[in-house]
Structures are given as structure tokens and as C-alpha cells.
């Protein structure tokens, strides 16, 4: 195989990781700022103009903190767990397309890392193994709060994965393809959120539960479980859990945008392909803002309420939606 192709892939992968990690840092700032405004506070404003250097200061602080491992923790898994949490959050974005293709230095460069014909299944596979980090962290800490947090997390993620998987189906059926690029291209005439408002709504709710964000953040409910699965973690190991949560927020927003909001599509995108990544970034921002808004608005669910919502409401609704969509598609052709 051509070595320039390898170089191109390596550069694109490195760039994607860089964008995700920078995005993570500034999502934390965005969250603090937006929540502050919603609560009529000011938010971080000391480090740099508008607090723009705050993520950097936080990072440096976390690097210099003491790395503490409890005496009776399972050391191998205790160290492995944050890594296992972080890796799926980073690699899940590999199949999300950022645009079509551009000419760069006289070379046609596609603006996506991988266009595999099982793209959606890849996302589901990665999402299904992302629970391990949290469960292992809870078990390896040898702390009852951590263990309870880890068990809650696994129960929650397994429950909501079903409805989430069913919310993936309508765009697949409408586009007739499992590739995210085909699904985005099929939305040129109309975004799928118009055809499938219910599926989009279910996707939004279940994806918030999948990344354990408020109001579904019971794995780390501080009033009952101290900090849940990451109670015993400090320093950079804690930072990795934090990083995974915010990177997953970005990934989920990007996937939602690609499935229901037309991904990189927008006005004049066909003439200027460079607009694609900008449109996608704007849509990701919308998703992030929505999740932060949710956190600032709703109180946390109780554990049984969360399970009832997932199994008794969202799952049947998603199933019904899939059946109706299939029926309509079969009738219309």
C-alpha cells in the first residue's frame, strides 16, 4: 500500500485526537460558564480573558496532585480502569464523517477517518464495551460506594443501550445503509429529525443516560454514593474519568448530529466542502449546550424511576417506532 496513504491516515487520526482533547478541555469551561449564567453567577473569569486559560490551569493542577492508590485496592485493575474508560471515548469518533473531500496540496483528501460499511454497528460495539472502565473502577477500589456506583452504572448502561440501539434503527432504515456517510448524504433533501422526531427524542434521552450525565448521573450521586465509582481516584487518574465523560458528550453530540441533523450538511456545503466541518462543529455545540442545559434544569432521577423510564417507557416506544417506520416504508416503497 502507498506510504502517503498511511501518512494521511496517521495525520488525520492525530488531528482527530487533538481536536477531541482540546474540545474536551473547552467543554468543561463551556459547562462551567453556561451553568453559571443559568444560575446568574459569573463563572471562571480569572485565568486569561473570559477564563479561557482555565482548562489549562485545571490540567496543570491535576498533573501535580498526588496519585493515591488505596491499600486494599486491586492495583492492576485500579490503574487499568481509567484507561479502559478513556479509550472507547476516543476511538468511537473514527467513523463519524466531518465532510466530503477537499483538495489539499494537490491531493484529494477525504474529511473522514474511516467509511466502513458497518459504521453504526461499530459505534454500538464501542458503546457496549465502554461500561467496563466504570465497573472495573468500582470493583478495584475496594470501597462499597465505588462498587455500588459501578454496579449502578453497568445496570443503567445495559438498560438504556437497548432503547439507544432501537433509536439507531430508523435512520438506517430510511437511508438503507449502515455507513454514517451514506446516512448523512441521504439527508440532503431533509434532515431525519423531521421524519423521525420520536426516535430523535429517544436517542437524546438515552444518550444522556449512556454517558451518565445529569439527570441520569446516579452512578455518581454525591448525596448517596460520595462520588460513585471514582470516589478513590485522584490526580490524573481522576482526570481520565472526567476526560472520558466530556469526550463522550462530544462523541454523542456528533453522532446525534450525523444521524438526525444532517451531519456536515448545510447551505453552500456542496460548493465549499470546507464548510462541512464547521457545520458539524456548530451542531455538536448545540448538542453540548442541550446537555448542559439539562444538567442545570433537572434534578436527578431516583434509581427505580430511571429503570422504569428506560424499560417501561422508552424501550416500548422505540420498538413501536421501529415497527411503524418499517410498516410505512414497506407501504410507500
Amino acid at each position: 500500500m502507498d506510504w502517503t496513504l498511511w501518512l494521511e491516515w496517521t495525520i488525520k487520526a492525530a488531528l482527530l485526537l487533538f481536536i477531541l482533547l482540546t474540545g474536551f478541555a473547552y467543554t468543561t469551561l463551556l459547562e462551567r460558564k453556561v451553568v453559571a449564567w443559568m444560575q446568574t453567577r459569573i463563572g471562571p473569569n480569572r485565568a486569561g480573558p473570559w477564563g479561557l486559560l482555565q482548562p489549562l490551569a485545571d490540567g496543570i493542577k491535576l498533573i501535580f496532585k498526588e496519585e493515591f492508590i488505596p491499600a486494599h485496592a486491586d492495583k492492576v485493575l485500579f490503574i487499568l480502569a481509567p484507561v479502559v474508560t478513556m479509550v472507547p471515548a476516543l476511538i468511537i469518533m473514527a467513523v463519524v464523517p466531518w465532510g466530503r473531500e477537499v483538495v489539499l496540496f494537490g491531493r484529494r483528501v477525504t474529511l473522514y477517518l474511516a467509511d466502513v460499511n458497518v459504521g453504526i454497528l461499530y459505534i454500538m460495539a464501542i458503546a457496549s464495551i465502554s461500561v467496563y472502565g466504570v465497573v472495573l473502577a468500582g470493583w478495584a477500589s475496594n470501597n462499597k460506594y465505588s462498587l455500588l456506583g459501578g454496579l449502578r452504572a453497568s445496570a443503567q448502561m445495559i438498560s438504556y443501550e437497548l432503547a439507544l440501539g432501537l433509536a439507531f434503527l430508523p435512520p438506517i432504515m430510511l437511508a438503507g445503509s449502515l455507513s454514517l456517510r451514506d446516512i448523512v448524504e441521504a439527508q440532503r433533501s431533509m434532515w431525519y429529525v423531521v421524519y423521525q422526531p420520536l426516535a430523535a427524542f429517544i436517542f437524546l434521552i438515552t444518550s444522556v443516560a449512556e454517558v451518565n450525565r445529569a439527570p441520569f448521573d446516579i452512578p455518581e450521586a454525591e448525596q448517596e454514593l460520595t462520588a460513585g465509582y471514582h470516589t478513590e481516584y485522584s490526580g490524573m487518574k481522576f482526570a481520565l474519568f472526567f476526560m472520558a465523560e466530556y469526550t463522550k458528550m462530544i462523541a454523542v453530540s456528533a453522532i446525534f448530529a450525523s444521524l438526525y441533523l444532517g451531519g456536515y450538511l448545510g447551505p453552500f456545503e456542496s460548493q465549499f466542502p470546507w464548510l462541512g466541518p464547521l457545520y458539524l462543529a456548530a451542531k455538536i455545540f448545540l448538542g453540548l449546550f442541550f446537555m448542559i442545559w439539562l444538567r442545570a434544569t433537572f434534578p436527578r432521577f431516583r434509581y427505580d424511576q430511571l429503570m422504569a423510564l428506560g424499560w417501561k417507557n422508552l424501550f416500548p416506544l422505540a420498538l413501536l417506532n421501529v415497527v411503524v417506520t418499517a410498516g410505512v416504508l414497506a407501504l410507500v416503497g
Partner: protein, 174 residues
């Protein structure tokens, strides 16, 4: 060549993970070795040109089944192996016999391959594409597919009934 290197690395990981599963004294580690083994199998499926099977392997086995295993192990606190019972008496001879049969079978396959009797053609390009699999599953093998799904449903209902009856007796005895 690159494919061969990838195969050797993945195969070694799969073998080591399999051995780790057998010899781990801690059930959590054993479960994790099994997960690693399944991930390696998924990569092997990918190198064989079956991305759909690879993803299903990860989602269903590594993702759903093993998370539940881990969940149960942690919930019961059954991490460490209890020595008192020991293996069942007939277990070891049977394992030895079955292992021997498997070795003979594998050796036979390798022998046929080496003598060129089993010249297997490489599968066509879209052999394992999702649409091709769907055709097979929902047209040619529809009946076995439905029977399997009914079987799973029955098993699930049976599990629920067993739990339900237990709950009833415990509440009536109070």
C-alpha cells in the same frame, strides 16, 4: 504480509487470554481475560473480511454477555475460588478425552490443508456484507432463525417465572 503479522499478533493475544481465563484464580480476572479473547476473535473476523460478524462479536459477547457475567460475579462477591469442593470426579478424564478428540480433528484439518486436498477458494468480496447476511438469515434460514428466537423467549419467560414464584413464597411465609 501485513495481514499475516496482524493474524500472528492477534492469535497470540487470543491464546494468552484463553490460558489466562483457565488459570486465573480470581473470577473477575477470568472474565476480563475472556473479554480480551473475544476482542481478539473480533479482530480475526475483521482480517477474514467479515466486519459485520466482528462487530456483533463485540456488541453481543464482549459487550452484553460478559458485562452481565461481571455484574453477577461482583454482586455475589464470588471473586475467589473456593478450594473445598474441588473439581467433579469425572470432569478431568472427560476433559482429557475431548481435548484429545479436538487435537486429532485440528491435526486432520491441517494435514488435509498441507496435502492440498482442501483447496479452499477465497470468498467473494461482499461475502459477509450485512445485506448478504440478512438475505440468508431472513429468507433461506428464516425458520431456524424464528425457532431460535422463540427458544430464547421461552428461556427468558422461564427465568422470570422461577424468580416470580420464589418471591411469592417468601412474601407469604412472612
Amino acid at each position: 504480509m501485513a495481514l499475516m503479522t496482524l493474524f500472528i499478533i492477534t492469535a497470540v493475544i487470543a491464546l494468552v487470554a484463553g490460558l489466562g481465563l483457565l488459570f486465573a484464580r480470581n473470577a473477575v480476572y477470568a472474565a476480563l481475560f475472556l473479554v480480551l479473547n473475544m476482542l481478539a476473535l473480533a479482530v480475526l473476523f475483521l482480517t477474514l473480511g467479515a466486519p459485520f460478524l466482528a462487530m456483533v462479536q463485540i456488541t453481543v459477547y464482549a459487550g452484553a454477555v460478559m458485562v452481565l457475567f461481571l455484574f453477577v460475579v461482583m454482586l455475589l462477591g464470588a471473586e475467589t475460588l473456593k478450594e473445598e469442593g474441588g473439581p467433579i470426579a469425572w470432569q478431568r478424564p472427560l476433559a482429557l478425552l475431548l481435548g484429545l478428540v479436538l487435537t486429532v480433528l485440528l491435526a486432520a484439518v491441517i494435514f488435509i490443508e498441507a496435502t492440498g486436498l482442501g483447496n479452499i477458494l477465497p470468498p467473494p468480496e461482499d461475502y459477509a456484507a450485512p445485506s448478504r447476511l440478512a438475505m440468508l438469515l431472513f429468507q433461506r434460514y428464516l425458520l431456524p432463525f424464528e425457532i431460535a428466537s422463540v427458544l430464547l423467549l421461552v428461556a427468558m419467560i422461564a427465568a422470570l417465572v422461577m424468580v416470580g414464584s420464589k418471591k411469592k413464597t417468601s412474601s407469604s411465609s412472612r
